[in-house]
């Protein structure tokens, strides 16, 4: 690669990086996108959100087919061809990354493959395939994060992180998930449906921390059959590779041999790997790069977005930050002032939540009112034979404005957007209740929960007068 001069260089082509680069190009800036891997899309498209959903969808359909037995429809035992399943997943990824490459071309974004390291406040040195130097007026750091490792685990192909688990190297009969967060439990769902028995070990006293416990309890009850052991407040003390499998010891629990161990103990930002000091960019001790509301680092013409700019490490947060950074680099007065960032666990049932949680409200002493509409009162959920979920809205006790909410049930991740919109718009319970939701849908449960809060819901037994 010849040395390049540009208005904006974007380091990292994940959802944040490519969005920043495309937005910058759309605003008329000459843009260079530096990515170490040959495809665009980063962790999310290549080894994260998208391939895991391809597998989760497959698993959900398998489970649904199995459940049809209760409706008098029986299929035979599924025949699983892992190679074909893997090929399907790769096709999904290929379609999306190919689309990105095409869009980059249409926008005349120069994609440079290599590892970018800052060489100065206006220079990025690229090593690897396209060696060279990129001189820039502005830079947007979107270098993401990587799976955290547990140092005491041996090197063994049977010990994997989420990337390794997505490779579907083989079926497992006995899977241990270390770390009971969303990523681990999503992958656990896939392997379980494909035939594995699950153990999960978690240091803290609950799974999927961050979500309200009542949401998680529904998921946990529905999925109890997948698990042999749910070890909370437990510590993994040792793991050794044996012929029979990985023998793992726990504190206060019996040791067990697994044929696959999935390590999902969080992600570590890549802030310390990009030569930030050469550009004078401050990186905190954890590897995050602090920014202001325009996503500017301490060096005003260098921006940081996505995982590397702080929690929550979510693609949709990164994309919004990306647009802010690109617009600010183009001289616009854009700021990141979204009030809420939704979270979704794509387990079965799904758990989704946004804004204030009950737990947080309790801790902060916020005066709230909560309305919970059980899906057992939703015609559609009953018809779907999936009425275990509920929809919970959390309102400000005085103004009745929506502060947050949580949904557990099939498709919860697709329902949560309405709550996010309501929070951003400052909608109150009446606004939501008076918005006509189509019948019969599970989305109705949101309108009904709002009516419940206002005491005007007629799909539940009469409420006691408030």
């Amino acid at each position: 690669m010849a040395d390049l001069d540009c208005d904006v260089v974007v380091l990292g082509a994940g959802p944040g990086g490519y969005s920043a680069a495309f937005r910058a190009a759309d605003l008329g800036l000459t843009t260079v996108l530096v990515e170490r891997y040959p495809t665009l899309g980063g962790v999310c498209l290549n080894v994260g959100c998208i391939p895991s959903k391809a597998l989760l969808h497959t698993a959900a359909v398998m489970d649904a087919a199995r459940a049809l037995g209760a409706h008098g429809i029986s299929f035979g035992e599924p025949k699983i061809d892992l190679d074909k399943l893997r090929a399907f997943k790769e096709k999904v990824v290929g379609k999306l990354t190919g689309g990105l490459a095409a869009m980059a071309k249409m926008r005349k974004v120069a994609v440079v493959q290599g590892v970018g390291m800052f060489a100065g406040a206006n220079q990025l040195a690229v090593g690897g395939k396209d060696k060279g130097t990129v001189r820039f007026k502005s830079a947007i750091i979107a270098a993401g994060s990587q799976s955290a490792k547990l140092p005491f685990l041996p090197e063994d192909p049977r010990i994997v992180d989420s990337t390794g688990a997505l490779e579907l190297k083989g079926a497992a009969d006995k899977l241990l998930i270390i770390g009971g967060g969303i990523i681990g439990l999503e992958m656990g769902t896939v392997y379980s449906t494909l035939g594995a028995r699950l153990d999960v070990v978690e240091m803290m006293d609950g799974l999927m921390l961050g979500a309200d416990r009542d949401l998680v309890a529904v998921w946990q009850k529905f999925n109890a059959k997948r698990f042999d052991r749910v070890m909370l407040k437990s510590k993994t003390t040792k793991a050794e590779a044996t012929k029979a499998g990985i023998r793992v010891s726990f504190e206060g629990q019996d040791a067990q041999t697994y044929d696959l161990v999935l390590v999902s103990v969080g992600r570590v930002p890549n802030g310390k790997k990009i030569g930030a000091d050469k550009a004078g960019v401050k990186v905190d001790e954890r590897g995050f790069i602090p920014t202001d509301s325009q996503m500017r680092t301490n060096v005003p013409h260098i921006y940081a977005i996505g995982d590397i700019a702080g929690n929550p490490m979510l693609a949709h947060k990164a994309v919004h930050e990306a647009h802010v950074a690109a617009e600010a680099a183009a001289g616009r007065k854009s700021h990141f002032d979204a009030r809420v960032v939704p979270s979704v666990a794509y387990t079965d049932p799904e758990i989704a939540w946004v804004g204030l949680t009950e737990e947080e409200a309790k801790k902060a002493g916020t005066r709230i009112g909560v309305a919970k509409f059980p899906w057992s009162a939703s015609g559609r959920a009953i018809a779907n034979a999936r009425d275990e979920g509920f929809t919970k809205l959390i309102f400000d006790a005085d103004s009745h404005r929506l502060l947050g909410g949580g949904i557990v049930g099939t498709g919860a991740g697709d329902l949560i957007s309405e709550l996010a919109l309501a929070v951003e718009m400052g909608a109150d319970a009446t606004d939501i209740g008076k918005t006509i939701h189509p019948h019969p849908t599970v989305s109705e449960s949101i309108g009904m929960a709002a009516e419940l809060f206002e005491g005007v819901c007629t799909d539940l037994p009469p409420q006691r007068k408030k």
Binding site: G310, G404, G426
Partner: protein
């Protein structure tokens, strides 16, 4: 006997030992944690490969280790022997080991084998300063520091100073951060002193709270980073598009009243707010001044410079940001008049040159500025009103019986004015030597606040650079400042003929509230006569 080394700890090198959990003589069990190391990402404990008795610890807190670094020497126990109960150091939560949220998960401090104990380092006597801001923290937990090594930099309104470590040791915990205000006695940090006896025992640090270390594998809670959720219900009732519009106009939405249902702020409300704010400004300015003259000025021109060509925004230096408002205040609030004059320094320059060899031997330069300081002192003695300040009520003049001459020094960061104290009691050589020293301190940013206080009169010399005259700004609460430009050799009529004379331009800015024009002219005339014949300063 067996040497225990650091095992394969993954992709880590030179990680720092933050805790040593065992000491010589301890009986340890297999898998018992020996040390805790911390990389930039995580802390981890290194377990014992087998049971035994520790013979010798080869590592201490602060050491950097990699795979293969010896940790300790172990007398291995028989296979059957049971180790005595572990001393149970609070183990780092497993999650936190890898999670970025590791600071809350640092293990409780366990007795470090070789440290002399924790001590709290406080801010020492820093002179007459209170509540000075910390502008830099130069060490972090885990750092080894030497005695006299700078720990933090604090800044008063006049100067910055670095606060040195009183002893050698390892920083355990910082007690302050950039932006904090400190005074004498404020705690800076806790360190494990090596060698030196502990001064004060640090307070016991609570053990890591596992609950606080909510890991990232569970999706972090979704608060928006810059704006805490708790305040969500207090946020203005405005949709994202209205918020974007307000950002573009720089409107603070908390000050806008919404006209929509339930007080919702609409685009039109933001527009109305801006209109009323613009029309209110001149009226408010006039009202605020009461009977005084209103500064009813048009708004500062807003120009998008980048429209006309490439620009670069360079932040003002700290010094500029501090001195700017002071200069502005002085310039606006003191009625300045500047008196220009010239002094014939032909003889003085010859005298100075004749003596430079002598001072250079002594290691300093004999500058014209040194003579100027002395000459000003002589002139000030004759004109005490210029060595004075107005009292705060503006009722009386405080005449000063001491002569501290401030000298403006140009540094890369901006202007500073260190003071030559008691210049009346110092010889020209002493003054010259001192000027050399303070200029160097100024350029090295080593001036202490005291070095810039107590001036009674200032000199700003641009003689080394050029120019024929200028109008210096008075360094309040002083009442006059002498500007000196470059001397020039000029033909001067001596009554019979034009003779070449070396003339030094003087520009005296004075506070016209105290000094009238005649007094100023008398001062510069007298000063010029002293410079023309320095012997006058003896009279």
């Amino acid at each position: 006997m067996k040497q225990v080394n650091v095992p394969d700890i993954g992709d880590f090198k030179d990680v720092e030992v933050i805790e040593v959990l065992v000491k010589a003589g301890d009986t340890i069990a297999a898998e018992q944690s020996l040390i805790t190391v911390e990389s930039d990402k995580a802390t981890m404990e290194i377990p014992a490969p087998g049971a035994g008795v520790v013979r010798e610890v080869r590592i201490k807190v602060g050491d950097k280790v990699s795979q293969g670094t010896p940790i300790l020497v172990l007398d291995e126990a028989d296979a059957g022997a049971t180790a005595k109960e572990a001393p149970a150091p609070a183990p780092a939560p497993e999650k936190a080991k890898a999670a970025p949220a590791s600071e809350s998960a640092k293990p409780a401090p366990a007795p470090a084998a070789e440290s002399a104990g924790p001590m709290t380092v406080n801010v020492p006597d820093i002179g007459d300063f209170k509540d000075v801001a910390v502008i830099e923290v130069l060490v972090k937990p885990g750092d080894s520091v030497a005695p006299e090594q700078s720990l933090i930099t604090v800044e008063s309104d006049k100067a910055t100073m670095e606060i040195p470590s009183p002893a050698a040791g390892t920083v355990r915990e910082l007690k302050l951060k950039v932006g904090d205000k400190v005074s004498q006695g404020s705690a800076i940090l806790v360190m494990d002193a090596t060698g030196a006896a502990p001064v004060l025992p640090a307070q016991a640090k609570p053990a890591a709270e596992p609950a606080a270390a909510s890991e990232v594998s569970a999706p972090p809670r979704p608060p928006v980073p810059k704006e805490p959720l708790e305040a969500l219900h207090a946020k203005p009732h405005a949709s994202p598009s209205v918020r974007k519009f307000a950002r573009e106009l720089g409107v603070d939405l908390t000050r806008v009243t919404g006209s929509g249902p339930k007080g919702r702020i609409a685009h039109t409300d933001v527009q109305a707010f801006v209109k009323s704010a613009l029309s209110a400004v001149p009226a408010a300015a006039a009202a605020a001044k009461g009977g005084a003259l209103p500064f009813n000025l048009p708004a500062w021109p807003e120009v998008d410079f980048a429209k006309f060509g490439p620009v670069e925004a360079r932040p003002l230096t700290r010094l500029q940001r501090l001195s700017g408002p002071n200069l502005h205040r002085n310039w606006v609030s003191i009625p300045h008049v500047t008196q220009f004059d010239e002094a014939d320094i032909t003889d003085l320059e010859a005298f100075r040159k004749a003596n430079t060899a002598e001072t250079e031997k002594q290691g300093f330069k004999l500058t014209m500025l040194a003579f100027l300081v002395k000459a000003c002192v002589t002139a000030l003695r004759q004109h005490p009103n210029l060595n004075a300040s107005l009292d705060r009520g503006g009722e009386s003049l405080i005449l000063k019986k001491y002569y501290n001459i401030g000298v403006a020094v140009d540094t890369p960061d901006g202007l500073v004015v260190p003071v030559v104290r008691d210049a009346d009691r110092k010889g020209v050589f002493d003054v010259a030597r001192e000027l050399g020293e303070i200029s160097k301190l100024a350029r090295d940013k080593k001036l202490k606040p005291g070095d810039m206080q107590g001036g009674t009169f200032s000199i700003s010399s641009l003689g080394g650079i050029g120019g024929s005259a200028f109008t210096p700004i008075i360094n309040a609460p002083e009442v006059a400042i002498l500007g000196v430009s470059r001397s020039v050799l000029r033909p001067v009529w001596n009554g019979k003929e034009f003779a070449p004379r070396l003339m030094l331009p003087l520009s005296l800015s004075y506070d016209h509230r105290i000094i009238d024009g005649a007094a100023a002219a008398r001062f510069t005339t007298y000063l010029a006569s002293v410079l023309a014949d320095i012997r006058r300063s003896l009279l």
